[in-house]
C-alpha cells in the first residue's frame, strides 16, 4: 500500500544507502512500496516513472523522499565532533515494520533475554522508572534517566556495570540513543537506527555509530553492532501483527514500556498510517 498524502511519512526524508556503499552501477531498492534507484553523486529516481527524487547526504547515508521534504533533517550535533569515530553498520533486512523496529530499539527490558551476557544478563532484569517527554514543538520524543545493569555494554566496557541511556525519536522511523562512554565518563556514545521502510512489513535497518573509542578497528565495532542487531532480528520477525498496533487494547503495556507507549501515542497523534494499525473508530 502506498502512503497517503496526509501521512507525514510521504514528505519525510528516508535513508536508502550508506554513501560509501554506492558504486557506478545504480543500487536498486524500494522505498514505501515504490521501486527506486540510487547512485553515487548522489542521485535517485523512481524506477517505475523515471521521475527524479530529491537527495541529501547526512550521517554517512544518502536520504531521499517521495514527496516535498523539509529543508533540513533532524540534528545529531555529536556526529560532527572531531574526535568521534563515525561508522555505518548495515543495512540489515528485516521482515517487520519500521515502527516495530523503532519500538524495539527503545526497549530496555529485553536486554537480558535477547542480548544475553552482552547488554543484559539474568537475574538483573529490573527496569527502573525513567522519564519520557515530547518536546515543546511536538517533533521529538525524549526518554531520560534510563538505567540498566549490563555485563558488557560496549567493546570498551570492562566487566558488568550500570549503564545510563538517553533515547531520542526525532523522526517516526528513526531513533538515536546515547549511552555511558567507558573511555570518557563526561561524554556519551551515540548509536542510531534509521529504518528504510521498503514496504509496510519489510525494512532495511541502517545503523550508524558515533563512538569515542581509540582502540578498536572499524570492523570490530561494526561487527559488535551487527551481532546485537542480529539478535533483535528474529524477535522482530516473530512479532504478530508485523505492523505496530496503536490501539491501547491491542497489547498489554507495563511501566517499563513508557517510551513505547509515548511512541505509539505520538504516531497516532501525528497521523502516521504507514506500518501501523490504527485503533478501530
Amino acid at each position: 500500500m502506498h502512503t497517503s498524502p496526509q501521512d507525514p511519512i510521504h514528505d519525510a526524508w528516508h535513508p536508502v544507502s550508506a554513501i560509501d556503499a554506492l558504486g557506478a552501477r545504480p543500487l536498486r531498492t524500494r522505498l514505501l512500496d515504490v521501486p527506486i534507484e540510487v547512485t553515487h553523486g548522489p542521485a535517485a529516481w523512481r524506477t517505475d516513472t523515471g521521475a527524479d527524487l530529491p537527495v541529501r547526504q547526512q550521517y554517512g547515508l544518502v536520504w531521499t523522499s517521495l514527496g516535498q521534504p523539509a529543508e533540513d533533517l533532524f540534528a545529531i550535533p555529536e556526529y560532527d565532533e572531531p574526535d568521534r569515530r563515525n561508522i555505518s553498520a548495515g543495512p540489515i533486512g528485516v521482515a517487520s515494520s519500521a515502527p516495530r523496529a523503532i519500538e524495539n530499539f527503545l526497549d530496555l527490558a529485553h536486554f537480558p533475554f535477547v542480548h544475553t551476557d552482552i547488554l543484559g544478563a539474568e537475574p538483573h532484569t529490573e527496569v527502573k522508572d525513567y522519564a519520557v517527554e515530547v518536546t515543546a514543538n511536538g517533533r521529538e520524543i525524549i526518554a531520560t534517566g534510563c538505567e540498566f545493569f549490563q555485563p558488557m555494554a560496549a567493546l570498551t566496557a570492562d566487566g558488568g556495570q550500570k549503564v545510563d541511556y538517553i533515547y531520542r525519536v526525532p523522526h517516526p522511523f528513526c531513533a538515536v540513543l546515547y549511552k555511558s562512554c567507558f573511555v570518557d565518563p563526561t561524554r556519551m556514545d551515540v548509536i542510531a537506527i534509521f529504518a528504510q521502510a521498503m514496504t509496510e512489513e519489510s525494512i532495511r535497518a541502517h545503523l550508524v555509530l558515533s563512538m569515542i573509542d581509540t582502540v578498536h578497528t572499524e570492523t570490530e565495532m561494526r561487527r559488535f553492532q551487527q551481532v546485537i542487531f542480529g539478535q533483535d532480528k528474529p524477535i522482530l520477525e516473530n512479532q504478530r501483527p508485523r505492523r505496530l498496533p496503536l490501539d491501547p487494547r491491542a497489547e498489554t503495556p507495563i511501566r517499563a514500556d513508557l517510551s513505547g507507549i509515548a511512541y505509539r501515542r505520538w504516531l497516532a497523534a501525528t497521523n502516521v498510517t504507514y506500518g501501523v494499525i490504527h485503533a478501530p473508530q
Partner: protein
C-alpha cells in the same frame, strides 16, 4: 473463510509432535497456535502471541510448568495461561490478571484436537485401536483435498465436511479415517488414522507416507488460482488490562479435599476448585479464607510452579486465638466448602537476586515454601533457613528434603541463639541480595534488626507479619480530609480511621484490620501519621507518603488522604 467449516474440532498436531519441553507451532484456519505439553501431561493450545508485545510463544521456552516468552521473559502458567512473572518489575506482582487466549483441547488416538469456537461439540470418534499415520501438508484448499480423496478411494463414507472413512485403491484392505485440517484458505494438512496398530509400525508409516505424498503431488500438479491467506484474528485484550484496576471482590468456592497434620499443632488443608481451574498466583501470595462466622483469615499458599490442581495452606492451632484458626483446625472437615478470595500479593518474590535468603519461623514457612519451590525450579541460588522448636514442630517437613543443600534446619534454639545464628549466616549485604522472613513478630524483629546492623538496606529486607501483636492506641482524635472526595471527616477517639472513612460513604478495601496485611493502605498527601501497623517498612514509615487506615492515626490535628 467460507471455505472452512467452523465451528468444528480439527486435529492440529500429532501427540508425537509435542516433544518434551518443546513448543509446537500449529495453525488452524489462519489462527496461529502455540501447542505445548507440561510435565503433568496437560496439553495447552494458546493463541501464538505474547500479550505484551505480540511475539510468537512458539519460539518461547517450555520449562515443564510455565511458558517463558523469548522477548521479555514473561512467564505464563500451564492450564490457566495467566502471567505469573514480569521480570522488568521484579518487586511487583503482575497488577492485573494477564491471561492469554486459550482454545479447547482433546487428545485421542495419537492426535491432538482443538476448535476455534469454545462451544463446538467434540465429534463422535470410533472406539477401538486406531493408529495415527504421518501428516502430509498439501498446498490446496481443504475441499479440494476432500475431492481428491474421493477419487483415490475404493469406498468412502463421509463423516463431516472435512472427515471421511475410506480405503485407498493403493491399500485396499486397510480402513482409514482421514481428517483434512485447514491450515489456511489455501493450505491443508492431511491427518489419517489406520484401523489397528500394525505389527510392523515403521514400514507401515513409511508405506502410507509414500501413498499420501503421491496424492499430494497429484493434487498440487493441477494448476490452481492463488488463494489469499485468512486474515488472522488478533483479539483485543480485555478492557481492564487497558485501564487501571480497582479492588476485586472475593469470589472463589473451594472444597477441602484433604486435611492432615503437617506438624504438631499445624493443620494442612488441600483446597480444590468447585469448578474450572484455580487462578495463577505468585510465590508469597496469600488468600483470605471466610470462616463460618463471617470473619476473614489470611493464609499463604505453599504451592510451587506447576502445582495448579489444588492449593495447600497451613493453619496453626493457637490455643488462645481469636477463634479463627482454632475453628479451622477443629471444625472444618474434608468435603466442606470454603469461600476464599483470589490470591493477594503483598509479599512478592524478586527473581533478580544473586543470593536469596529465606528465613522461616515455625508456621511462617508457608509463603517461603512457595518461594523456595519457585527458586528451586528456576535454578536460582537461595538458602532456606527453617527455625522450629523441634523436628515435630516443623511444618511440611517431608517436602523440605527436596531442597537438598539449600535447606538449613535450626531446631530448638532460644531467642539469643536464634539471633546469633541469623547474624552468622546472614553476613554483610552484597549487590543484588535479598532476605525474606516470615514468622512471629519477635522472629521478624530479630531478622530486621540483624540485617540493619549488618548494613542491609530496607529495600533488601522483606517480611510478612501474620498478625500485629502491638497494642493499638486509639485514644487520639483528629480530622481527616479526603482530597478527591472533597470530604472532611472527624475521627473521634476509639474509632478507627478506616471506620470513619467508611461511615462517610467512601469505600476502602480491607482484610485483616489489624495493621498486618496492607489491603487498606491509602496514599497520604499531608499531615504526620502515627503509624501503628507492621505492614510498612521503616523507610516507608519515615517517608510518610502512605498510611494503613485500619490501625494508624495522626500525630497532627489534620491528615489529607488521596481518596
Amino acid at each position: 473463510m467460507s471455505m472452512i467449516p467452523s465451528p468444528a474440532w480439527h486435529p492440529i498436531a500429532a501427540s508425537t509432535d509435542l516433544v518434551f519441553r518443546h513448543v509446537f507451532h500449529g495453525k488452524l484456519a489462519g489462527q496461529e497456535l502455540a501447542v505445548w505439553r507440561a510435565d503433568d501431561g496437560n496439553v495447552n493450545v494458546w493463541e501464538n502471541r505474547c500479550l505484551h508485545r505480540g511475539v510468537r510463544l512458539s519460539i518461547g521456552m517450555n520449562d515443564g510448568a510455565e511458558l517463558k516468552c523469548q522477548y521479555h521473559g514473561w512467564r505464563y502458567a500451564n492450564r490457566s495461561a495467566s502471567c505469573t512473572y514480569i521480570p522488568a518489575h521484579p518487586a511487583n506482582s503482575p497488577a492485573r490478571q494477564v491471561t492469554n487466549r486459550t482454545f479447547p483441547v482433546a487428545e485421542r488416538h495419537g492426535l491432538v484436537w482443538s476448535a476455534l469456537e469454545p462451544d463446538a461439540a467434540f465429534p463422535d470418534l470410533p472406539e477401538g485401536d486406531w493408529f495415527a499415520l504421518r501428516a502430509v501438508t498439501i498446498d490446496a484448499p481443504a475441499q479440494t483435498v476432500m475431492g481428491a480423496l474421493a477419487e483415490a478411494a475404493t469406498s468412502l463414507v463421509p463423516l463431516s465436511p472435512l472427515a471421511c472413512r475410506l480405503a485407498l485403491r493403493e491399500a485396499p484392505g486397510e480402513t482409514l479415517i482421514v481428517f483434512t485440517q485447514p491450515l489456511d484458505a489455501g493450505t491443508s494438512v492431511l491427518r489419517a488414522l489406520r484401523d489397528g496398530t500394525p505389527a510392523d509400525a515403521e514400514p507401515t508409516l513409511r508405506r502410507f507416507n509414500r501413498i499420501l505424498s503421491g496424492l499430494r503431488d497429484s493434487i498440487e500438479a493441477v494448476p490452481m488460482p492463488r488463494i489469499g491467506a485468512v486474515e488472522p484474528d488478533f483479539a483485543p485484550v480485555s478492557a481492564d488490562l487497558a485501564a487501571v484496576p480497582g479492588p476485586r471482590a472475593a469470589g472463589l468456592s473451594v472444597v477441602v479435599a484433604r486435611k492432615w497434620w503437617a506438624a504438631e499443632d499445624v493443620v494442612a488443608l488441600e483446597l480444590k476448585p468447585l469448578s474450572g481451574t484455580l487462578p495463577a498466583f505468585q510465590p508469597g501470595a496469600h488468600i483470605d479464607v471466610t470462616l463460618p462466622d463471617g470473619t476473614l483469615r489470611q493464609y499463604s499458599l505453599t504451592n510451587g510452579p506447576g502445582e495448579w490442581e489444588s492449593w495447600v495452606i497451613g493453619v496453626r492451632r493457637q490455643r488462645q486465638s481469636r477463634g479463627g484458626s482454632r475453628m479451622i483446625a477443629e471444625q472444618v472437615r474434608e468435603g466442606d466448602l470454603l469461600a476464599i478470595s483470589e490470591p493477594r500479593h503483598k509479599f512478592p518474590l524478586r527473581r533478580d537476586a544473586t543470593r536469596t535468603v529465606l528465613i522461616a519461623g515455625g508456621i511462617g514457612i508457608t509463603p517461603l515454601l512457595a518461594m523456595a519451590k519457585a527458586l528451586h525450579h528456576g535454578g536460582h541460588p537461595f538458602e532456606l533457613h527453617a527455625f522450629a522448636r523441634s523436628a515435630g514442630h516443623l511444618p511440611f517437613a517431608e517436602g523440605l528434603q527436596a531442597f537438598g543443600d539449600h535447606l538449613h534446619l535450626h531446631l530448638g534454639q532460644d531467642p539469643d541463639e536464634t539471633e546469633a545464628t541469623v547474624r552468622q549466616f546472614l553476613g554483610p549485604h552484597g549487590f543484588a541480595q535479598h532476605v525474606y522472613v516470615c514468622g512471629s513478630a519477635r522472629m521478624i524483629d530479630t531478622v530486621t534488626q540483624a540485617a540493619a546492623d549488618l548494613g542491609w538496606p530496607d529495600e533488601a529486607v522483606h517480611y510478612e507479619h501474620f498478625s500485629n501483636d502491638r497494642a493499638i492506641d486509639a485514644s487520639s482524635a483528629f480530622t481527616v480530609e479526603l482530597a478527591r472526595s472533597a470530604l472532611t471527616v472527624d475521627v473521634p477517639a476509639g474509632v478507627s480511621l478506616l471506620a470513619a472513612i467508611r461511615d462517610a460513604g467512601v469505600t476502602v478495601p480491607s482484610s485483616c484490620e489489624k495493621g498486618a496485611c496492607g489491603t487498606c493502605v491509602v496514599p497520604l498527601l499531608d499531615g504526620v501519621p502515627d503509624h501503628q501497623d507492621v505492614y510498612l517498612n521503616t523507610t516507608e514509615k519515615r517517608a510518610g507518603r502512605a498510611i494503613v487506615t485500619c490501625v494508624s492515626r495522626a500525630q497532627t490535628p489534620r491528615l489529607v488522604l488521596d481518596l
